[in-house]
Structures are given as C-alpha cells and as structure tokens.
C-alpha cells in the first residue's frame, strides 16, 4: 500500500470545491465536529488559564478559563526558583536531538544493508531485529538500570540517549520504504564503480527523505515526551528531563502550587505546539505514512 497523501487538484477545481463545500447536509455535522474539537482542546485552555492565576486562585471554584486576575507570577516562579527548569529544557532538547540523530543514522544504514545488499544471515538477523518491536522500553528498564549503575552511567543523559537509539521500528520502517523505491539509480552507480558508502550517502539517503522525516518526528516526540525512563534512571535535578521533572516538581511543591506546575507544563508543551502549527501537514503525513506502511 502506498502512502496516501491528500489530493491536490488544480486551482480552479479547488476554488470551486471550496465554494461548493458547504452542503446543507454537512453543516450540522461540521458544527458538531467543531464543538467536539473545542471540547478536546478544553484541558489545554484550562491549563493555560490556571498558569496565569495567582497562587491561591488556581483551585478556586467556580472555575473559569479566563482568570479574574492575570499574572505571570507562576511563570516567574517556575523559571526563577531553585528548580533548574531551563536546565531540564536543555536536557530534553539534547536527549531528543541526539536520539533522533542516532536513530536516523543507524537505522538508515542498517536498512540499507537489509534492503539493498545480499549477505549471509540477512534474514535471521532481520527477524531478530523484528523481535525488538515487541520489546517495550519499560521491560528493559530493570536490566538497563543495573547495567548503567555498574558502568556509572546512571543519572546521566547517555542513559536516556543510548536505549532510544536502538530502534527496531526505525529499521523496519526505513527498510519497507527502501524496498518500495526503484533500484535503478543505485545499480547504475554500482556499475560505474562507486563504493557502497558513496551509493548510500549520495543516492539512497536523499531518496529516503519522507521516511527519514517521519521517523525523525516520531523519535523526537517520543523522546521529548518520555516519562518512565527518566523517572527510573535519572534522579538528580541537573540531569532531569521535562515530563519527569515537572511531575517531580508537583510532588515536591505540594498541592498548593497548581499554577506553577501548570506554567511549567505550558512551557514544556509550547515548542511542540508551535512546531505543529507550522508543520502540521508535514507531521501528519509523516505519522500517517508510518502507519499505512504496514
């Protein structure tokens, strides 16, 4: 099954369809969907609203999305307190970026070997890697914890980056994609005497654009949002990443600091929101493609 993209008909046809679009039958349906959509967004709206309230207000009933008094005090406290919020932000960024880079490089290389090269043990090795699809991260946490502790890597960013780079899903996805790509260019290059590395780097990799983008986005968001790994493997503030750090923040500050925790959460979500607004189509197509390529 090939990747489905939204059709892009000619401009005149688009204009016409945009005008014709509002069938009387569809209007109640669209209205209903829009109401559902607003309800879906309510938790976020409430979160932002709570973050703009003064400390004692956040829990006050009756609740209102728009706070009676606006204040950025919660944000100031989240950024200026002894909690290294900015450090956590940076850690999340570093871990996500390096994990993504690592996955993209190693997965595409491995996929190249599986999809384009013939060698003994190709099938058994591939099936072994496929087994990894069924091994969830939570499962390997206990031995990884032990192993990292012995190596002194516990409570370090490497403990988060290394496991994330081992992506069977990535290898599988890229391989599937490569198999559906034509081989002619590569074979021609081979005949011209190019080395495998040159072929990979100059020809195969550029063709992998959409798949790499999709894998990159998935890996980045998964890493950014990961809670259980940092929760288990990281214990000190200066190595903590955002989700686990903010939850720990709530635990330490007690139930009296709703607005500060909401402010921290808002700041953590903001970059993803911005990226989504800008690259919405791109992200959705990427994730869709990974799903349809099964």
């Amino acid at each position: 099954m090939t990747a489905a993209t939204l059709d892009r008909p000619a401009t005149s046809a688009r204009l016409l369809s945009a005008l014709q679009v509002v069938h009387w039958r569809n209007v109640p349906l669209m209205a209903g969907l829009c109401i559902a959509a607003i309800l879906m967004l309510m938790p976020f709206l409430w979160m932002v609203g709570a973050s703009l309230r003064p400390a004692g207000e956040a829990y006050r009933l009756p609740p209102s999305i728009i706070p009676r008094e606006w204040t950025l005090a919660a944000y100031r406290e989240a950024l200026g307190s002894g909690i290294p919020f900015v450090q956590m932000y940076w850690n999340s960024l570093v871990v996500a970026a390096l994990s993504t880079l690592g996955v993209l490089v190693t997965a595409s290389m491995a996929a190249f070997a599986f999809a384009r090269l013939e060698f003994r043990g190709s099938t058994p090795l591939f099936l072994t890697m496929l087994g990894g699809l069924m091994v969830p991260p939570a499962l390997t946490l206990i031995p990884l914890y032990f192993g990292f502790a012995r190596l002194g890597l516990l409570d370090s960013l490497s403990a988060l980056i290394l496991p994330a780079m081992a992506s069977s899903f990535g290898v599988y996805m890229i391989r599937q994609f490569m198999l559906s790509q034509p081989r002619e260019l590569e074979e021609a290059a081979l005949m011209d005497g190019a080395s495998y590395w040159t072929i990979f780097w100059r020809i195969s990799l550029p063709q992998l654009g959409p798949a790499l983008a999709a894998l990159g986005i998935i890996t980045f968001t998964t890493s950014w949002n990961n809670y259980i790994s940092p929760f288990v493997l990281i214990k000190s503030w200066d190595k903590m990443t955002l989700p686990a750090g903010i939850v720990a923040l709530q635990g330490l500050m007690g139930a009296a600091s709703v607005s500060v925790v909401m402010a921290a959460a808002t700041m953590a979500i903001l970059p993803l929101l911005l990226v989504f607004l800008v690259a919405q189509r791109f992200i959705i197509e990427g994730m869709t493609m990974s799903g349809l390529k099964q």
């Binding site: 099954m1 090939t2 489905a4 945009a18 069938h23 669209m30 829009c34 607003i38 879906m40 938790p43 976020f44 409430w46 979160m47 997965a107 491995a110 070997a113 090269l117 013939e118 003994r120 090795l125 890697m129 087994g131 069924m134 091994v135 969830p136 991260p137 499962l139 946490l141 206990i142 031995p143 990884l144 032990f146 192993g147 290394l162 081992a166 081979l190 005497g193 190019a194 080395s195 495998y196 590395w197 968001t221 949002n225 990961n226 809670y227 288990v232 989700p243 686990a244 939850v247 925790v261 909401m262 979500i269 929101l273 989504f276 959705i284 994730m287 869709t288 799903g291 349809l292 099964q294």
Partner: protein
C-alpha cells in the same frame, strides 16, 4: 550488487554494525537479562546475587496483586482499543468529506494536539479536572444538576476515567491514519458501488471497510501493544488506586523492582509481560490474516 572495493558481505556487516550492536546492547541483551534476573534474588544494598530458581515466578503467579494488575491491564486494553480505534474510525468517516480548508485544519489541530503532548503532562492537568470535590468536571456536572462522579476515587469508575484520558489523548492518531486510508480508496470502487444503487452505509460496510481492513487491524495491534504498557497516566492520576483498582502490569513491575526493592520479582513480572505481548501480537496477527483473507 558487487563492488570492487570491498566484498558485499563485509560492507553489509559494516552498515549493519552500529544499529545492530545498539539493538543488541540496549534491547536484546536486556530482554534476556530480564529472564536471567527473574531467576535470581538480589540484595539491593550489597548487590549480591544468588540463584533462586523459579521462586520469583511462583511468587508472582501466586500474588493476588499481580492477577489484579493483569486483569486491570486487559480490561484497560479492551476498552481503550475499542475506544481509540472505533471512535477514530467513526471520526475518520465523518471527516472524510469535502469541507473548507480552515475547518479541516482546525479539526486536525484539535484532535491531533493531544497526541503530540507528553502523557505525563496531560495527566497532571486531568488530575485537576477529575478531582471529586474540587474538580472542574464535577463542577459543571453539578451546574447541570447532575450528581458528582467519583472519577478517581471510586474503584469501578477509576479505570474508566483512565480510559477516557487515553482515548482523549490518542484518538486523533487513529483518526488520522484511518482517514488517510479512507482517502486512499480508489474512486472507481466507490463510484461502482454508487452506480449499483448502494447507500452510504452499504458502501462503507462492503467496499470501504474491507479495503482498509489491514490498516484497521494495524491500529488494533498497535493500540494493544501500547496499551499493555500503560504506566504514565495511571501512576500520576491514581498511583494504581483506589486500593489496586487501576494498577497496571508495568506499574506492578516497577513497584516490585524499585519500590519493594525486589529485582527478582520485578523481572519475573517483566518477563510475563513480555510473554503477554508476544502471545497477544501473535493471536491478533493470526486472526487478522484470516479476516483479510476473507
């Protein structure tokens, strides 16, 4: 493909090396180590390891809490998969029609944003929404003269509340994938059905659904595997409570290994989880193949 510089096989191994070694060290070996640990007893303070045979496994299998966790996890999956994939399909069908670009973008934003955000962070927000006496949901229910619901404090309702959060968070993902699948159905097929005089639901049931069945099945499998690993939301919203009403398998594993400091028992639980994933995946794959063949 043959290259003059290096044998194909050697090249293949070099390409494969980084990815495979990472996979070995970070996924395969830990998975096997889990099995090994489950056969040991480890003193957490001195880290002496002693062989314990099947003791841990027997302990887990005879632990009432384990079976509660097992039952809870499968109850969760039954509800969450049905909700996520079913509701996702319904939404996809409803959205699969002409509509103004702006409306489509808005709908996609609203439904997909929760997917992108960290489960841990949205759990913090929902914790406030769900609070029995001071929460937003109950407040509005009361305004509508409906009784308060003990979202997180009633053992029967608590699991449903977790499922609601899970569906809210993930339905967008499944909606988008199934929407793309629906839009990839060749027009000719649908038009043929229309010419034969088939109505909307008949077309859906006999033409569209069979066509996208592989994608739907993929969604079911994917949702199941991720459902088996549910941890973040439960840990933050209920910590497995009230009592043990919402404890999941991964939570049980974490609590035994890092809470009760019993690595052997935690590993045994992890191992059983792995077996559960393997069996479930295989069963679903088998059933899926037969359904598609029909």
């Amino acid at each position: 493909m043959r290259s003059p510089f290096m044998s194909e096989r050697a090249s293949a191994y070099l390409f494969l090396a980084p990815g495979f070694v990472l996979y070995l060290l970070m996924a395969l070996v830990p998975a096997l180590a889990t099995l090994a640990f489950s056969l040991t007893e480890v003193d957490r303070f001195t880290w002496e390891i002693s062989f314990a045979g099947a003791d841990n496994l027997l302990f887990v299998l005879s632990d009432r809490r384990f079976w509660t966790a097992f039952g809870n996890t499968f109850t969760f999956i039954a509800m969450a998969v049905a909700g996520n994939v079913g509701l996702g399909l319904l939404l996809a069908v409803l959205i699969d029609r002409q509509m103004p670009r702006a409306v489509l973008y808005f709908l996609r934003l609203a439904f997909f944003l929760p997917v992108l955000v960290a489960t841990a962070l949205v759990s913090l927000v929902w914790q406030l929404l769900y609070s029995t006496d001071l929460g937003i949901l109950n407040y509005y229910l009361n305004e509508l003269h409906l009784p308060s619901v003990s979202w997180l404090t009633n053992s029967r309702v608590a699991m449903v509340s977790i499922v609601i959060l899970d569906v809210w968070k993930h339905v967008g993902f499944f909606m988008i994938i199934q929407l793309a699948a629906l839009q990839g159905i060749p027009r000719s097929l649908v038009e043929a059905g229309e010419l034969d005089g088939a109505g909307f639901w008949q077309i859906f049931r006999y033409i569209k659904l069979p066509y996208i069945l592989p994608v739907v099945l993929f969604c079911v499998t994917y949702a199941t595997i991720t459902g088996l690993q549910v941890f973040d939301s439960i840990r933050i919203l209920t910590q497995g409570g009230p009592g043990d009403a919402t404890i999941s398998l991964v939570m049980y594993m974490y609590e035994e290994a890092f809470g009760a400091q019993d690595i052997g028992v935690g590993s045994a639980a992890a191992f059983i989880l792995l077996a559960a994933i393997a069996v479930t995946t295989l069963v679903q794959w088998r059933i899926g193949r037969r359904m598609v063949a029909q």
